[in-house]
């Protein structure tokens, strides 16, 4: 088990390296020198930029060096100083912006993930056990729809429906009065009141595909011999389904966190833009529109790295739950 975790953790290093290269490519790819555009922007705002300042910036980001040196410089600053560079747009260190926004992204994503699983597993089990019943058809249809409706469209429709019929605006994460308030019980309650919309919107497609997977795996498991053995013991159907078939079927479902998580983080980015949530998504979007590339690249890097870590955690969780994997990967 320990070797397994160690091996998986070590394998993460090349993964993170590759992701960082991609992220750096995003920073480096746009034509033109961002320093130039930064200076141009500053000057447009009426600021005077001195020659020394420009030189200092050039040195800090190694802009006069070839690409690989610039990459090494970038990554070194991240590892050594936690310095992700400067956001030209906000004129603040990217690190600060990350620290502000990332907790919300993680919070929304994890809550959505939990919601997705909590909703999908029982529904999947039910659909499989009552295969071809009307409930199964409804869930299947809903599932297909959930897959087909783009996240942002669902958000728009929900916003329209709530605005039109209830007169409520459902964007944002807090009501205006709490937006800048300090954390309190009331603020937390307000957060919960807002949170369910993005969770449902982001979670729909994930839940839909997860229901289908769960249903499929469950149907497979229900056809296996050990289920009949359990029935032959005289166990009641509910015990057979929950304690035996479902327990085995849940394992492959946990292993698909690996692709549910990217999906959720992906969905979160776009939904947050539509619903105007204070997470990384809108910031990433703005940074892309304004070519604030250090901010964009760092976001891509951090989001991907988070996904990779999430996947690793789910794999370890799986190995811990399933005795077959636990023993298989022991050595």
């Amino acid at each position: 088990m320990f070797t397994y975790i160690l091996r998986r953790t070590l394998l993460m290093i090349p993964t993170l390296f590759l992701i960082s290269v991609i992220a750096f490519a995003v920073i480096d790819l746009p034509p033109g020198d961002y320093l130039t555009s930064y200076v141009a922007q500053l000057e447009a705002q009426g600021a005077v930029v001195s020659e020394e300042q420009i030189l200092a910036l050039q040195k800090r980001y190694a802009l006069d060096q070839p690409a690989h040196v610039r990459y090494l410089n970038w990554i070194w600053r991240i590892v050594r100083y936690g310095d992700f560079g400067q956001s030209w747009n906000w004129n603040r260190p990217v690190r600060e912006l990350l620290a502000e926004r990332l907790p919300f992204t993680i919070g929304v994503s994890v809550t959505t993930l939990v919601f997705t699983y909590l909703a999908a597993i029982p529904i999947g089990i039910y659909s499989a056990v009552r295969q071809y019943s009307w409930a199964d058809y409804i869930f299947t249809t809903a599932g297909f729809l959930g897959l087909a409706v783009p996240n942002f469209l669902l958000a728009l429709v929900l916003m329209y429906v709530f605005y039109r019929y209830f007169g409520v605006s459902i964007g944002g994460m807090f009501s205006p009065e709490f937006r800048d308030a300090a954390w309190s019980m009331a603020k937390f309650r307000d957060l919960l009141n807002h949170l369910w919309v993005p969770i449902i919107v982001i979670g729909t497609s994930g839940t839909a595909s997860l229901i289908r997977t769960m249903r499929g795996v469950m149907l497979d498991e229900l056809g296996k011999d050990y289920v009949q053995t359990a029935r032959a013991k005289g166990l009641s159907e509910i015990v057979v389904i929950v304690r035996h078939a479902a327990k085995v079927a849940v394992n492959p479902i946990i292993s698909v966190i690996g692709w549910t998580l990217p999906q959720i983080i992906s969905g979160e980015a776009i939904v947050a833009i539509v619903l105007n949530l204070p997470t990384t998504g809108p910031l990433l979007y703005q940074s892309l529109l304004t070519q604030d590339m250090y901010l964009a690249g760092s976001f891509i890097f951090i989001l991907s790295a988070l996904t990779v870590i999430g996947t690793l955690l789910s794999d370890i969780l799986l190995a811990w739950i399933d005795p077959r994997i636990r023993f298989d990967r022991e050595g």
């Binding site: 296996k224 011999d225 050990y226 009949q228 053995t229 359990a230 029935r231 032959a232 013991k233 005289g234 166990l235 009641s236 159907e237 035996h244 327990k247 085995v248 394992n251 739950i321 399933d322 005795p323 077959r324 023993f327």
Partner: protein
């Protein structure tokens, strides 16, 4: 058929499967009885309905299959009789019989155990349910029974998971599980087919030992006539969902009456005999394409007559406790069921 001491009586059982491609009469009007302490064999080739028969007796047939008619009478030790075919498959009454009075051993010891629970937990589960024991007592019982079926140091192995056991050990664990609640009837569905010969011999010996210790009635389902010869007291030969011959084991092997039984016997090679085999021509037909009310063996039968393609033969009494479903014995007494 003397019915008085039968612990289990199957009468005119029909189990049909309604598939997309048509109706499959997997078990079609079969009758058989099992006496206390004896081993009744059911032998036949793949697809003849022997496994469905086993599942029907356990009332474990799953949709699209269903018991459509017939009786499965179980006479328990206190003299009361239950018709299993009438019980709801998931009802309380059926569940209290399953595992407790009638237990089953499955073919694939690899897939027949839940992979995520330890062997001990899986045995204890049934014991706790039927014998109302505490977890600790059930565990004691599981260790005891595992030792009985020949698992070395059962107190250590009880916490192992199925994949840590070898094939033979898993089948021993299956047997332990089946016997844990001291059932009266055990249905063994091809219990040794997935095992190597040397392990098969161990398992068969174990089953015999257990039978004499616990006074079990065993229904032995297999395609292997060797296993039947070794284990069964009486044999039912099945073909395409019907029992075509029933007799004492000795009679089946030395005085077979049905052409199919004879064909099977002549098809198996025996050690020390190099003479050319006499196979049955053709192959087992697809149950979907069969016409009704004929003898299904007729196309492969060297003795086929006009009538075989026109009407289904009844079961004839052809000797002491020997019945055969074949037109060759027209004129003999017809067995009523």
């Amino acid at each position: 058929m003397k019915e008085v001491d039968d612990i289990l009586q199957v009468r005119n059982l029909r189990t049909y499967f309604r598939t997309d491609n048509g109706l499959v009469r997997a078990v079609d009007r079969i009758s058989l009885g099992v006496r206390r302490g004896e081993t009744v064999g059911i032998v036949g080739e793949s697809g003849c309905g022997k496994s469905v028969t086993a599942l029907s007796i356990m009332n474990l047939v799953r949709p699209p299959g269903r018991i459509v008619a017939g009786q499965i009478l179980y006479r328990s030790g206190d003299g009361s009789t239950t018709d299993i075919a009438k019980l709801h498959p998931n009802g309380r009454q059926m569940r209290s019989l399953r595992g407790n009075n009638i237990a089953m051993i499955f073919q694939e010891p690899m897939t027949a155990l839940t992979p995520v629970y330890s062997i001990g937990d899986q045995i204890a589960e049934g014991v706790m349910l039927h014998k109302k024991l505490t977890r600790r007592q059930a565990r004691e019982r599981a260790i005891e029974i595992l030792g009985k079926v020949g698992i070395p140091s059962p107190e250590k192995r009880i916490d192992d998971y199925p994949h840590q056991f070898s094939g033979g050990m898993r089948q021993r664990a299956m047997i332990a599980m089946a016997l844990s609640c001291e059932p009266e009837v055990v249905i063994a569905d091809e219990p040794t087919t997935a095992l190597d010969v040397t392990i098969e011999a161990q398992i068969l010996r174990l089953m015999k030992e257990m039978q004499s210790q616990l006074d079990l009635s065993i229904i032995m389902i297999t395609h292997d006539l060797g296993v039947i010869a070794e284990m069964a007291d009486r044999v039912n030969v099945m073909y395409t969902g019907k029992i075509v011959e029933h007799a004492q084991t000795d009679d089946i092997f030395y005085n077979p009456k049905h052409p199919y039984t004879l064909g099977l016997l002549q098809s198996i090679p025996t050690i020390g005999d190099k003479r050319r085999l006499t196979p049955i021509r053709g192959a087992v037909p697809n149950l979907l394409t069969l016409p009704e009310d004929v003898c299904y063996f007729a196309p492969r039968c060297p003795y086929a007559m006009e009538i075989c393609a026109q009407a289904e033969p009844p079961m004839y009494q052809v000797g002491t406790a020997h019945q055969c479903k074949c037109w060759l014995y027209e004129g003999n007494e017809v067995v009523a069921v």
